[in-house]
Subunit: 278 residues, 4 copies
Amino acid sequence: MCRWLAYSGSPIPMDALLYKPKHSLIDQSQHAEMGAETTNGDGFGIGWYPIDRVAKQTPGAFRGIGPAWSNANLRDLSEHIRSPLFFAHVRASSGTAVQESNCHPFRHGDWLWMHNGSIRDFARLKRDLLLAVDPELYPEIQGTTDSEAMFFLALTYGLRDDPVTAVERMAGFVEATAAAHGVQDPLQMTVATTEGETTWAFRYSSTGQSRTLFYSTGVDDLRQLHPEVDALRMLSDDARLVVSEPLGAMPDAFNEVPESSYSVIHRGQDQMSAFNPR
Amino acid sequence: MCRWLAYSGSPIPMDALLYKPKHSLIDQSQHAEMGAETTNGDGFGIGWYPIDRVAKQTPGAFRGIGPAWSNANLRDLSEHIRSPLFFAHVRASSGTAVQESNCHPFRHGDWLWMHNGSIRDFARLKRDLLLAVDPELYPEIQGTTDSEAMFFLALTYGLRDDPVTAVERMAGFVEATAAAHGVQDPLQMTVATTEGETTWAFRYSSTGQSRTLFYSTGVDDLRQLHPEVDALRMLSDDARLVVSEPLGAMPDAFNEVPESSYSVIHRGQDQMSAFNPR
Amino acid sequence: MCRWLAYSGSPIPMDALLYKPKHSLIDQSQHAEMGAETTNGDGFGIGWYPIDRVAKQTPGAFRGIGPAWSNANLRDLSEHIRSPLFFAHVRASSGTAVQESNCHPFRHGDWLWMHNGSIRDFARLKRDLLLAVDPELYPEIQGTTDSEAMFFLALTYGLRDDPVTAVERMAGFVEATAAAHGVQDPLQMTVATTEGETTWAFRYSSTGQSRTLFYSTGVDDLRQLHPEVDALRMLSDDARLVVSEPLGAMPDAFNEVPESSYSVIHRGQDQMSAFNPR
Amino acid sequence: MCRWLAYSGSPIPMDALLYKPKHSLIDQSQHAEMGAETTNGDGFGIGWYPIDRVAKQTPGAFRGIGPAWSNANLRDLSEHIRSPLFFAHVRASSGTAVQESNCHPFRHGDWLWMHNGSIRDFARLKRDLLLAVDPELYPEIQGTTDSEAMFFLALTYGLRDDPVTAVERMAGFVEATAAAHGVQDPLQMTVATTEGETTWAFRYSSTGQSRTLFYSTGVDDLRQLHPEVDALRMLSDDARLVVSEPLGAMPDAFNEVPESSYSVIHRGQDQMSAFNPR
């Protein structure tokens, strides 16, 4: 299990969401409340698009293998880097090695990808799943996780052209491969992906009991409800946040993403639709 | 807060106590039950005396800065090293840096030292405490923790000649120094120390509400009560274990060390006495 | 021995100087030419002032304990962070532990400090040197190096008010303390320090045979001499660089800082003066 | 490029060969003389068979991602662990990530494997090479290196039953796969492998210009030639050492393994034969 956060809106220093809120993502790395595991201490990562991004420049990334809660570099970087769109992830390994190449968000060109969940019996399915990855893309797989395999399958199925269809085909392929091996209910996922402009967030599981996922309500409403919260003041009206579990002191700030659905977030607009593996 | 374990008896592979019991020390690194903190993921260490120890040879040591629960080297080493006397420690930092030089057990010559607890307002007291360390010993301080400062104070006060008096003088000096700075109830400690033959375990706090400490009851009795526990079979009758919280499935295997007392364990004999800071 | 680099001028991505030049600082981490040691693989660090720095905001910092040449995070961060003033350092330990708290640049408030060189017999002198640190500053010492001790002595002697005098007094105190312990020729240093606007660079050793130090000649002249060098195009006319050994393909780009002298660099102006320990 | 060492003979503490000789393996990690790269600072590993090994017990292993020369744990473990048969390896990455799962020696059951060299254009060939790995073994691949792929191919071709044939088939398959992709002269290798009783050491390259490999001459002769060398006294007459480049002060202690050949070492006997990829 893992916890993650995806932000888009006015540029803010990343610590405004990673550290400052009550029950922030870094707090969740030590004391999650909604996940299968309370501790997410098996590595972490951030990926961000620079304020002054040059066209097609890759997003920045920083990953580490210790717990997020004690990492002095993570704290310092998140205080000093402002970004209009960033991902952050804290990891609880489901068995694969704790190493930077297994830390989310994964990156390919200008795309980021992060995942909470797992593929059941991944060790048994891995060879067949990786065989389906485009041979041109195959050499760029860096780590050994199910999450990265899902990313490269989605890239193979056209993530860069039609993200929703690509993720639906990936999910369908994982389920078909699992069925061929006699593995029941293989897929459990909340996934976020972006190319720097639009964020897609997916909630799905083969059993229909997916890990939690929440999206923020409008900042304008929140500011009226919580004039005492500093972090809200620096957010633009179009700021949007998607999270594994709500941050802090504002339970009314977050709505649950429904089971088997996905959300597309672009310049403060978000649209929810049903997710159907193909 | 931290969790620790001190074993002496017949040589056993360290994983017999670190990994195999239910609620083992490594389990406690992720899910402690009795401590101030449930997670002890800020580094770890083991110190052991080799089976074929040459006279005055230092004990072996292995320390790491990530969580114990995901450390492949720790698991492997503890499976492959057998020892008749070893210490193991999992750390939850009370603020000082997560680095190997701050991981317990600390070592000086043939002595080991480990600690659970803290000195309140250590940053304010540190200079005065370190000034009292013997200038000959001072250059050998490697890290920045209160725990190592306590070790070097105890060495200064004669740990190698009269361990109990040295620890009592250390505790008294810490309390006197704190009083001079207006710091109330400064000391909270369970400490274990050894030279490879005898283990001393101390439980004390300025408030009289010390962190928990337990010692194992006789192995012979246990074997009769729990014929189903494999680990017991490899233990000799003189095996003794001191722990921050009981391992696993045998609640009757452990007795609590009383408040403000210490235990001396030597070749299967243990003796309990009152602890009085001087 | 270590290698370091201090840049000020128009904001540039840090990799323009850390990675892109021939014989860049990262190359020097693996194959230095002028130092006492060819390999500087015992940790590294960068410190930078953000483009959009808020008044008195601390500089950003990132430190790591492995070699710089293989660190994926360092490469990525230096590509994605632009700064008008930054320090970078690669370390070869002279004996103290390889841990982040011993990596340069050191930081205190809005000041940065980095050092190449050593204090001879530091272990013997350390206690007396640290005793001279202002007790208010003492608790903020994080690591165990001679370099950080020099920084805190300079802070004690007024670095923030009169940097040159403070460094001269620090050097004088180190030499006097060494003399009292019978240690000959104790100090070897090139040091850079800054508060974000002005950079001071010092070259001094007790023996008068200091580690090398170079400063860049005018960017305008260089651009005419080397129209083929891309990196020069992004530099403003007031860009200044101070380095342990010249970067790459432009031997005419660097002048040696004379023995026992210091340089003050502010908005493209630099001024050289004699350095005299007090 | 990497450096490695394989020892068999009377049980000795590993530091007797890793640290104590002049130009020891750890010295070579910082200053190799014969390799393509002078610095081998991209991780390290040791694998050893315990003195009191239980039947079929796996060998112990310890791996790390920093340089060997500054690793306090490696120094301490090698002082405290005695073994009759151990492998040690220092790594210079040829491009794959610096992470523990890429550090040698690799282990499978009771077998160890380590490698110096590379497969040219491995990224392009990787998919086809891994496809040839036995699907039962495939899930146990932990890292991303060419060296580990070679190990799993050799296991697939029967390493455990007929090591020489298996390694010859592996080499032949790598060369055939490379030819199919238009990659010239793909294989460069010195390899050591063992099951704890016998050590096989291979020297081969597609070009016929393989990395250096040496084996020790008889200990008895050496003792007469070098009565001043302490380490020799603790060695039994049947001790044998295979190394990437000779240790230290005894040039007459080592003979070069000829091009395209392999050596089988068992209880002090060694036998050299020609190596022919199949």
